[in-house]
């Protein structure tokens, strides 16, 4: 973990901002996003919190068009994601995504996981791609595991490889969809440390998380969502530390002190 701390902070990234306006998304008759507007400045770290089913993951997945919004607009860097003529693949190169279930490619070793898109999409030479991948693996503290296969790694290690894989594309924005929710508790810290360093390096980050400690420490802004709308947003101190909305208070009480209620869902 210490090597993780030391290795990352140096490199400064070119960061892009996000502008989401009045975004709506329905599955059939079930409206999951009911007109969300959210701006993220370049280099800003925004944590999305809220109960499951609140639409926060869907919002995140709309940003790189893994979900197609029904209404509203999304601007990422110089791209309008919601423009029907947008080159989705070109836009996605700028947007790194980290999934709850890691989604590493099990048939490729760690190094190839980090190089396959570089060579196939960015047309980098194998040598250059290897170099970029090794540098990013070093940054997440896993340079020594480059030849392993995903199923030989712990969950935390897999997630750090997934971060290195996304970073190897030199993204200007990183999306994290509950990156620590599928991890054993003792490996959560390593992943959060990597994310903390990434935040310090100036990367724009949109993070769906239940890690309130991380949100408090790292987020420039916290957005609380419930029922497909933004209920409350502001600094971490404000939203997590001293929420004003009853729904936010109720949610935080459940998350921060789960033993006080009978049914724990989150």
């Amino acid at each position: 973990m210490n090597d993780v701390e030391q290795n990352t902070s140096a490199a400064q990234v070119k960061a892009a901002g996000v502008a989401i306006k009045n975004l709506r998304k329905s599955y059939g008759t079930n409206e999951v996003l009911k007109g969300i507007s959210l701006d993220v400045s370049p280099g800003e770290v925004v944590c999305l919190i809220g109960p499951s089913g609140s639409g926060k993951s869907t919002l995140l997945r709309c940003v790189n068009l893994l979900e197609q919004p029904n209404e509203g607009s999304i601007h990422v860097g110089g791209f309008e994601a919601t423009d029907p003529d947008v080159d989705i693949d070109k836009m996605r190169r700028k947007v790194g995504m980290v999934f709850q279930q890691f989604n590493l490619f099990p048939h490729l070793n760690v190094l190839r996981n980090c190089t396959v898109a570089q060579t196939k999409v960015l047309k980098r030479s194998q040598a250059e791609a290897d170099e970029v991948a090794r540098r990013n693996l070093e940054h997440v503290g896993l340079g020594h595991l480059a030849d392993r296969f995903p199923d030989q790694l712990s969950g935390g290690q897999q997630q750090r490889v997934a971060i290195a894989r996304a970073l190897s594309m030199d993204p200007q924005l990183m999306l994290f969809d509950e990156p620590t929710s599928a991890l054993d508790p003792e490996t959560v810290g390593d992943v959060l440390a990597v994310m903390r360093n990434l935040a310090r390096s100036g990367m724009t980050m949109l993070v769906v998380t239940h890690e309130m400690g991380f949100a408090r420490e790292v987020a420039d802004r916290v957005v609380f969502m419930d029922g497909g709308v933004v209920v409350e947003e502001g600094s971490a101190e404000h939203v997590v530390g001293a929420p004003t909305q009853p729904r936010t208070k109720e949610f935080l009480r459940r998350v921060l002190d789960p033993t006080h209620i009978e049914v724990v869902e989150e």
Binding site: D89, K90, N103
Partner: protein, 263 residues
């Protein structure tokens, strides 16, 4: 006298074994062994079959099977992708094709391509082409379903991860999804090869020159020329097992390997 559960189970097994032995003895006694040894196990007259049955028959069986598998695999992959396409016309065509060729006997396809198509278009074509096409077309229908199941067994997150890295749909398919699907379908695909090996025997309905004979044709030919009754067919059957049993073992090995790597 009351028996314990264990005693009852043991008695039951003994009774079953007894019935099996008696039935076997009855069959053995009922067989006309003199006739059988002249017509089925008459190995003394088989000299002329060798080495042709190996150098020509076995070789051709393997070649026909391999060629048909190449056609079947490429066709099957194309059909599987069509069946999973978001474009309805592709799905309908693939479904129609698969249901049709899985639904009719392979023998009819052989006859259609061996006699029907040349008759309709007024040309003749090489037996190799007929076998490859007929067998390959039937095989592709079966393989398509196997591959479709394999493609669908690859978790959705794999495609999402590939797409989120900026890979276009087809590139994600080729580089990420299809290689994993093949790993999943390796055991059933090996079984398809076994079926193909046996189906290559249907070539007997076509007119073949001696150099085009495969195992079954060789056996049938031996029946009429060697005077050893059905024995040549028995030998042909043994050669099929020489091919299919190792394949079967291979499929099992793939299966256990897949079970090991799954978490």
């Amino acid at each position: 006298m009351a028996m314990t559960a264990r005693q009852r189970a043991k008695t039951s097994l003994n009774v079953q074994a007894g019935i099996f032995v008696v039935a076997l003895a009855a069959v053995v006694l009922a067989v006309d062994w003199k006739t059988v040894s002249e017509n089925v196990f008459n190995f003394a007259k088989l000299g002329p079959m060798f080495p042709g049955i190996i150098l020509v028959g076995l070789k051709n069986t393997l070649i026909y099977t391999a060629m048909a598998f190449v056609v079947g695999l490429s066709g099957g992959l194309l059909l599987a992708l069509m069946k999973l396409s978001s474009f309805p016309l592709y799905r309908w065509i693939a479904t129609g094709y698969i249901e049709f060729f899985r639904g009719i006997p392979a023998l009819l396809v052989f006859i259609a391509f061996g006699y029907g198509v040349p008759l309709a278009f007024g040309f003749t074509w090489d037996v190799n082409v007929v076998v490859t096409l007929s067998l390959g077309i039937v095989a592709s229908a079966y393989i398509a379903e196997t591959l479709r199941a394999g493609l669908q067994a690859v978790p959705k997150g794999q495609m999402e991860a590939a797409r989120s890295l900026g890979m276009p749909h087809w590139r994600s398919m080729v580089t990420i999804v299809i290689p994993q699907a093949f790993k999943i379908v390796l055991p059933p695909l090996t079984n398809e090869v076994i079926l193909l090996t046996k189906d290559s025997s249907l070539i007997y309905v076509l007119g073949l020159t001696a150099s085009q004979y495969e195992l079954t044709k060789f056996g049938r030919d031996g029946i009429s020329s060697l005077g050893a009754g059905l024995t040549p067919l028995l030998v042909a059957g043994a050669f099929y097992l020489v091919v299919t049993i190792p394949l079967s073992l291979l499929a099992r090995k793939f299966e256990s390997r897949a079970a090991r790597t799954k978490r």
